[in-house]
């Protein structure tokens, strides 16, 4: 199993500390299905984005000041006085949107090809944990510039904890570090915003360890048993990932250099003012579907529970989906429900940006109900009754014809 390194120093070191052979197994030799399509690029894209966010964030932290009187000014100082500070900040703020876009696609791919099914449940769980940590990090990070939307977004979200019976208000005070959102709040948000990305890095490592245990799923969703079905990760998937990076960086670059403020809110260029509430308090686009679920329900506590539940339900997805066939390719009915689900999620995001009144409220309620119906009713029942198409024995066989 262990090929020896030709370089004697390397071989000596690796014999005592096997980092090189571990890296070689993971990044060079790792047998990977040869039929992966471009949707499998998004895992490594998410990885590179995490690195970009940490590096740009670290450089920003050298100039940022976490103080209610100085935070806004320090961000403008970065934009105006720091060499290429505008580039750093736009990379970091656009990067958060890009990160969520990629992760949403990555999750959608998992849903389409059944990547969450046995034996990859723990891999799926770790992914959800990363997603959850990302949500927290992004929320904390958005408060740091201390603009109007930062302040009021933080107000709305921290106030959600007051919905907890009996101790809710105490928890909110504890989170704030005082009786209102003030300097202690900003300070702790900054600390945590700095810390959590490194926890994400840790979970990403576990995610990769779990991935390499059974290897990547593939578009057919079948377990690969033949040797010819797999190819070494390097050079085939390294070069494919690099090509993916290229395409991604072009899109990233278009936003950073030409549309840097398109995905943000203009109000956040107004310094935070606790006495002036913005007309609409809207989170960043990537939170809108969950924000819609929160506001679709008239009771605060139930709304918070529904919002949390909409993410937590993903943990039990491997058991809610009772169908043994993984890939949508061989599940004609689930495939249609899959696209309805995606469409429903986009509509949720759209109503999330509107004031929850009239038509919008009705739409958000229907969509919220459908979101949970998909997981709790459609998926379990579908697994029992859906007639799946014949699944091939290996990736070289055409499943639709019985010959071959």
């Amino acid at each position: 199993m262990t090929k020896k390194f030709k370089n004697k120093t390397l071989a000596w070191l690796d014999y005592r500390l096997p980092i090189f052979s571990v890296l070689r197994e993971a990044l060079v030799d790792h047998p990977t299905p040869r039929n992966l399509n471009y949707w499998w690029n998004f895992g490594s894209l998410a990885g590179i984005t995490l690195v970009i966010m940490i590096v740009s964030g670290l450089l920003l932290s050298m100039h940022y000041v976490a103080h209610v009187d100085l935070a806004f000014d320090s961000v403008e100082h970065i934009m105006r006085d720091v060499n290429y500070g505008w580039l750093l900040r736009y990379i970091h703020s656009v990067g958060s949107s890009m990160f969520f876009l990629i992760v949403y696609i990555h999750i959608s791919r998992g849903l389409y090809y059944g990547s969450y099914k046995s034996p990859r449940e723990v891999l799926w769980w770790l992914g959800i944990i990363i997603f959850f940590l990302m949500i927290i990090t992004a929320f904390l990070g958005y408060t740091l510039p201390w603009g109007q939307m930062s302040f009021w977004g933080a107000t709305v979200i921290t106030n959600l904890f007051s919905a907890i019976p009996l101790i809710g208000d105490n928890i909110v005070t504890w989170l704030w570090g005082g009786f209102s959102i003030d300097n202690p709040t900003l300070n702790r948000f900054y600390s945590l915003h700095f810390l959590i990305p490194f926890i994400i890095v840790g979970v990403v490592f576990l995610h990769i360890v779990a991935l390499h245990k059974f290897g990547s799923n593939n578009p057919t969703g079948i377990d690969l048993t033949l040797k010819q079905e797999k190819i070494p990760f390097h050079p085939y998937y390294t070069v494919k990932d690099f090509f993916g990076y290229g395409v991604f960086f072009i899109i990233f670059g278009i936003f950073v250099f030409f549309l840097p403020n398109l995905l943000g809110h203009p109000e956040n260029y107004i310094p935070a003012d606790p006495f002036v509430t913005p007309e609409h308090i809207i989170p960043e686009w990537y939170f809108l579907p969950f924000y819609a679920i929160l506001r679709a329900i008239p009771f605060k506590l139930l709304g918070v529970l529904a919002m949390l539940g909409s993410i937590l339900i993903l943990f039990v997805l491997p058991w809610l989906d009772t169908c043994k066939v993984r890939s949508c390719r061989f599940r004609p009915i689930y495939k249609q429900f899959y696209w309805i689900f995606i469409f429903n999620f986009i509509v949720l995001g759209w109503v999330g940006s509107k004031v929850p009144e009239g038509h919008y409220l009705i739409i958000s309620r229907i969509c919220t109900a459908y979101y949970f119906t998909h997981f709790l009713i459609i998926l379990p029942i579908l697994g029992m009754f859906e007639k799946t198409l014949p699944v091939p024995l290996n990736i070289f066989k055409n499943p639709k014809t019985k010959k071959n």
Partner: protein, 253 residues
Amino acid sequence: MIKKFFFIIFSFFFLIPNLFAEEAMSLKKQNWSFEGIFGRYDNSTLQRGLQIYQEVCSACHGMKRLRFRELRDLGFTDGQIKIYAETFEILDGPNELGEMFLRPGEPSDTFVSPYKNKEEAKAAFGGAYPPDLSLLTKAIKNGPNYIYSLLTGYEESPPKGFELTDGLYYNPYYDGKVIAMPPPLYDNAIEYIDGTNASLDQLSYDIVHFLNWAAEPKLQQRKSLGLKVLLFLIVLTLLLYVTMKEIWSRIEK
């Protein structure tokens, strides 16, 4: 069948916003030279804008994030900037005696706001304080066109049945249509140093141009770097694509 279904659903999805469209004044759109991928600021427009700010706006509005040295972007020389900065008095200190003192401005100083703080401004204007202009065009959706529309959109007499309190002004572009700021610009409000005809449209265009530069001074640098980066990335990505095809051809035969 599924495709038809989605076509219907998606067309519905795009129709919905129009069904619920809210009534809003459409803004007067201008061709700003700083828009688009080749967007650039125009120096003479910026200089005229500075003159308007200096002679009109700065009576009430500050621009505290701007430093005199940044006027280099407008095409001024360091010497000119130094002389300009010296015309302002800056509160500095404390000195060795522990006292604050006034000194002439230096290029590294920021623009001087007309009021010491928000409270003083509020007191002077009966509660409605004039906002700092440094970031204005970025702090409003579609900022440049909005401010242009606002400046040129004052109407002398409000429509019939519209009650206007004394000391307030009617402007259909402003939220609530009633604004406390008197019309700041009008034809020939100032006399341009460069002799340009100072019509209301010209004045409004110039000041918005200047305000956008103040809010986004690195725009030119950003866009020109962006073009180079994108060009590089496109070439790199094409090369990576060819490399990928070449490597994968080893097993796809």
